[in-house]
Structure formats: C-alpha cells, structure tokens
C-alpha cells in the first residue's frame, strides 16, 4: 500500500509539473512534448486505479495518434513564430483563477461532509478490465457506442470539409476518361512527308 502511495505522489507531481509546463513554456514544441509527458503520467495513474484498458488506450491511441498529430500541426504552423509571448497581467489573472479554483475544490473535498472511505476490494486474479468494459460497451452502452460513431463521422466530415482545397489550376487524373480513350482519339497517321515550310 505504501508503495502505491509513493507512486501516486511521484506521478502526481510529474503530472502537475508537466501540465503547468505545457501551458507556460515559451517554445511551442517543448510545450507539446510536455503535454505528451503529462498524458503519459496520467496513464500511469490510471494504471494505479486498475483501469488497465483505458490506460493502455491513452498511451497507444491518444498519445500515439492524437498528440502526434498535434505535434505535426505545431511544427507546420509554428515555422514562423516558434516562441509565444504572454502578457504579464494575463498570467496574474490566470494564477488567481487557478488558485481560487483549487482552494474551492480543496475546501469542498476536504470538508467533513464529504469523506469517502470506501476501499475497493482487490480484484480477483482472473478479472479482466478489458473484458468487463467490452461486455458493457456493446450491451448497456450500445446507444452511446453508436452515438460516438456518429460524432466521429461528423468530425471526419467537418475536418475534411474545412481543410480540403480544390485548386482550379490543379491537374488531376480522371481514370474513367483515361480508360475510355481509343486509339483514334490520340493518334493521327500522316503520310510521312515533312510539312512544307510556310
């Protein structure tokens, strides 16, 4: 138990430090990399909470695909202005907002009327988090599963509609027309004599 507590504080510290770095670092690429670090440590914390499937998902899919896409866009957009300038008064306001929120939450969570003491039973050896999640996902949450699929489709349509550029001067192949071409469309037989000079 004590070892888990140690891990919690270790990962928690790294998580918060990386998150703070992600929103304050001046170099955009560094900021994106700290974001990846914070997600990675969050995945470790989820592992501590025995949510193995989501934890692995976060590393493989989320960090592997989404955040790397993020890094691509950062590098594409940030060629010209790699550093960020922030105003001082924004920083003060933001720190104040964060401090107030943490204080509020701390007061609420540490108040005596909220004291969850329940400790979960250790899971049996043959328990599989993935299997358990899968079995509710396609039954209890079938509607949500479909709706999430719709949301992803909407995102695909939206993102392509926004970024697809059809340039009028762009030369494109039309395979249907290419395969329909006959010999006489393209080939003209002449009698071999050179044209008289004009």
């Amino acid at each position: 138990m004590a070892f888990q507590t140690l891990l919690f504080y270790l990962f928690g510290t790294v998580l918060l430090a990386a998150a703070a770095a992600a929103v304050t670092l001046r170099n955009m690429v560094h900021a994106a990399l700290s974001l990846i670090l914070s997600f990675f440590t969050a995945a470790m914390l989820w592992m501590l909470l025995e949510a193995e499937f989501l934890s692995i998902l976060l590393v493989l899919v989320y960090i592997g695909a989404v955040l790397v896409l993020f890094l691509f866009v950062v590098m594409m957009v940030e060629r010209h202005t790699p550093t960020i300038h922030r105003r001082r008064n924004y920083r003060i306001v933001a720190s104040a907002v964060a401090a107030v929120m943490v204080a509020e939450l701390g007061m609420a969570l540490l108040a005596p009327d909220f004291s969850p003491t329940a400790q979960p039973l250790p899971a049996p050896l043959e328990y599989s988090n993935t299997k358990a999640l899968g079995s509710v996902l396609y039954t209890d949450y079938a509607l949500a599963f479909e709706a999430a699929a719709v949301a992803l489709l909407v995102a695909i349509v939206g993102a392509i509609a926004l970024t697809l550029r059809v340039r009028p001067d762009h030369h494109r192949q039309n395979p249907a027309r290419q395969s329909r071409v006959r010999k006489q469309d393209r080939l003209r037989l002449t009698d071999g004599r050179s044209e008289p000079p004009c």
Binding site: A22, L45, W46, E50, L54, A65, V66, V73, M76, T117
Partner: protein
C-alpha cells in the same frame, strides 16, 4: 492510504491548470487547444478514480466516450487552426483585431 479524495484533488489541480492555461494563452490558438486537452484529462481522471473507488464500470465507460469525443474535437479544432493559418498566416488571436467581444 490512498482514497478517492487524493485523486479528486489531483484532478482538480489539473483542471485548474487547464482553465488557467485558457486564460493565460488567450493569444495563442494551439496552446489553447492543449489547455482544453488538459481539462478533459482531468475529467477522465476524476471519472476513473470514482469508478475505481465505487466499484462501478459506468465511470470508465464514460471516460472512454469522453476520450473518443476529445479526439474528434481536437481534429476539428486543428482543422479550424489550419483554416485560420492559411487565411492569415498567423494564429495569434490578438492580431485578429477585427473581432472584438
């Protein structure tokens, strides 16, 4: 001994960092997107912690859907950033002076 309160305080702090990031980076679209990611990460940590301590899978299922939507949202967000970048060659939200609340 770890309890739900520990994890909720941690995710609360993460959430606050995310919100503060939105305030501090009002000028910069990409860092704004990163702050939004952190907010959703805090939400997911909260849900998973609650799910673990309540021995109830609903929280993990919700976290899975939040993760899905977060990916969809970031795709749209990056697409909009690219659109703005193409039209202006800048994504500094304050150079865009025409639009004012």
């Amino acid at each position: 001994m770890l309890s739900l309160t520990h994890f909720m305080l941690l995710s609360g702090a993460l959430f606050a960092i995310g919100v503060a990031g939105v305030f501090v980076n009002r000028r910069h679209a990409l860092v704004l997107l990163m702050s939004l990611e952190l907010i959703l990460l805090a939400v997911n940590t909260n849900l998973i912690a609650a799910s673990h301590y309540l021995q109830d899978l609903a929280g993990q299922a919700f976290a899975l859907f939040v993760l899905t939507i977060a990916a969809a949202e970031i795709a749209i967000g990056l697409a909009i950033v690219v659109v703005v970048f193409r039209s202006r060659e800048t994504i500094d939200a304050e150079d865009l002076s025409e639009v004012r609340g």
